[in-house]
């Protein structure tokens, strides 16, 4: 049987007897029991973790910062700092003195939206900024990885948010979408609050939490209740002309993860989990579970549904390699703690084939 050999950190090869591709095929093979699929997924995670030794250091750093759930009502609002990369790759770039009065409309939008997301966290979840203690929120605009290439992405680099302008065809300016800014800022929250490794199912949960807060923030901004389909789209405002012409109305759709209108379609059930896939693929499973739960409850997603999910995701009780099932169980535990009837919650998770 072929071995999968991967270099890491300049160390000698670490070779695994079963390649990720084969694990992927086996875990999805018809006829395999659920237990066997889970074992294959776990094996893949273990081998991946072995290759990524530096992850240990990251987790150690996070664990020092992790605290139990705190409603830091008295913490001050975060200060918001904006920078302009001026289409270069150097981060953070040139400081923008007064972003609220910038002549750059994109800067004004990103600054105001970041401020609104921080207020949303404070008002709805009682949280002050990424660390829960009012840490500064830093954003860099007009980023390019290479000067001669438009940058079609946005990311959290472990310390701050970074936004590209898009190529105008596939994507438009990333900072123009409220859910995108809430998504990236939430990666900061997750970094401070959980041990979730950014790979496998735990990585999918990390992405899910960002998508979930992003969508719910967008719903609140637009006054959309949970039954409105447009409130579950991720990246609807950043689709460029070429994407629109191809019928792509969003990057992802939490209510319909596999829909052809998604630029990046996802699986809808736990049975479709791909253990080797990028973390943005499997996040479709918990995305749909949250959507179904919020719709079953009805009304505003940013009330009880968001609070329940948020409480389940913070406090450092999720393991580094937490699975989607682990997270589902955490939501159930918090439902009991919050005196929420678990019937709708169980139904939502079961609808995506998570055996709760």
């Amino acid at each position: 049987m072929a071995q999968d050999c991967t270099h890491a950190h300049g160390r000698a090869h670490q070779c695994f007897i079963i390649s990720p591709d084969l694990l992927k095929k086996l875990s999805q093979a018809k006829g395999n029991s659920r237990a066997l699929k889970r074992t294959l997924q776990s094996t893949w995670l273990v081998t991946s973790n072995m290759r990524k030794g530096r992850e240990t250091a990251r987790l150690s750093a996070i664990s020092q910062k992790t605290s139990q759930f705190r409603r830091d009502i008295d913490s001050p609002p975060p200060e918001i700092f904006m920078y302009d990369c001026q289409k270069h790759h150097s981060i953070p770039g040139r400081p923008i003195a007064d972003p609220a009065k910038s002549t750059d409309a994109g800067v004004r939008i990103a600054y105001q939206t970041t401020k609104d997301v921080a207020k949303f966290y404070k008002d709805v979840l009682g949280r002050s900024s990424g660390d829960g203690r009012g840490i500064d929120l830093v954003s860099s605009m007009h980023y390019r990885e290479f000067e001669d290439e438009d940058y079609d992405n946005a990311f959290w680099d472990g310390r701050q948010m970074v936004y590209g302008d898009g190529d105008g065809q596939v994507f438009k300016e990333f900072y123009n979408s409220p859910d995108v800014i809430a998504h990236e800022l939430t990666h900061g929250v997750t970094q401070f609050e959980s041990h979730l490794a950014y790979e496998g199912e735990s990585g999918a949960l990390n992405e899910h939490i960002s998508d979930m807060v992003g969508a719910v923030f967008n719903q609140k901004v637009k006054g959309l209740t949970a039954d409105k389909p447009e409130g579950w789209l991720i990246g609807a405002a950043i689709m460029g002309a070429k994407s629109a012409a191809a019928g792509k109305t969003c990057l992802r759709d939490m209510a319909s993860p596999g829909n052809s209108h998604c630029l990046s379609p996802q699986p809808s059930t736990y049975n479709g989990l791909d253990p080797t896939a990028d973390v943005h693929i499997n996040s479709g499973i918990p995305n749909l579970a949250f959507c179904k739960f919020a719709q079953a409850i009805g009304g505003n997603s940013w009330e009880m549904p968001l609070n329940l999910w948020y409480r389940a995701s913070i406090g450092g009780h999720l393991k580094a390699n937490a699975t989607i099932l682990d997270f589902a169980n955490a939501t159930l535990a918090h439902a009991h703690a919050m005196a929420v009837d678990p019937a709708a919650l169980k139904s939502a998770w079961r609808a995506v084939a998570v055996p709760l």
């Binding site: 270099h7 950190h9 390649s19 990524k52 530096r54 992850e55 959290w156 994507f171 992405e207 943005h280």
Partner: protein
């Protein structure tokens, strides 16, 4: 599995998630072929997932005869970097 050498280039991470290109190595332009040789001659970078956050990175996988080779890297030469596209 075919013995024809193939390369899969996947950009992962960041907001937008994966973009993939998969093709026969024989179909690569000479610049891309040279860049691939350079990538394969080097070890993977520090685990990209350990950088913090959701910063993008690339996974390059070569299959064909013998063991699949995988490299996880932060950056790729333009001739390879521009190959993965969204399916539009």
């Amino acid at each position: 599995m075919s013995d024809t050498p193939r390369v899969r280039i996947e950009r992962r991470g960041a907001l937008t998630g994966p973009k993939v290109a998969e093709l026969a190595i024989g179909d690569l332009h000479s610049d891309a072929k040279a860049a691939l040789d350079t990538v394969l001659a080097s070890p993977s970078a520090d685990a990209p997932v350990a950088q913090g956050g959701d910063r993008p990175w690339y996974r390059v996988t070569v299959t064909g005869k013998g063991a699949p080779e995988v490299r996880d890297v932060h950056e790729l030469p333009a001739s390879l970097r521009k190959l993965p596209q969204f399916d539009l």
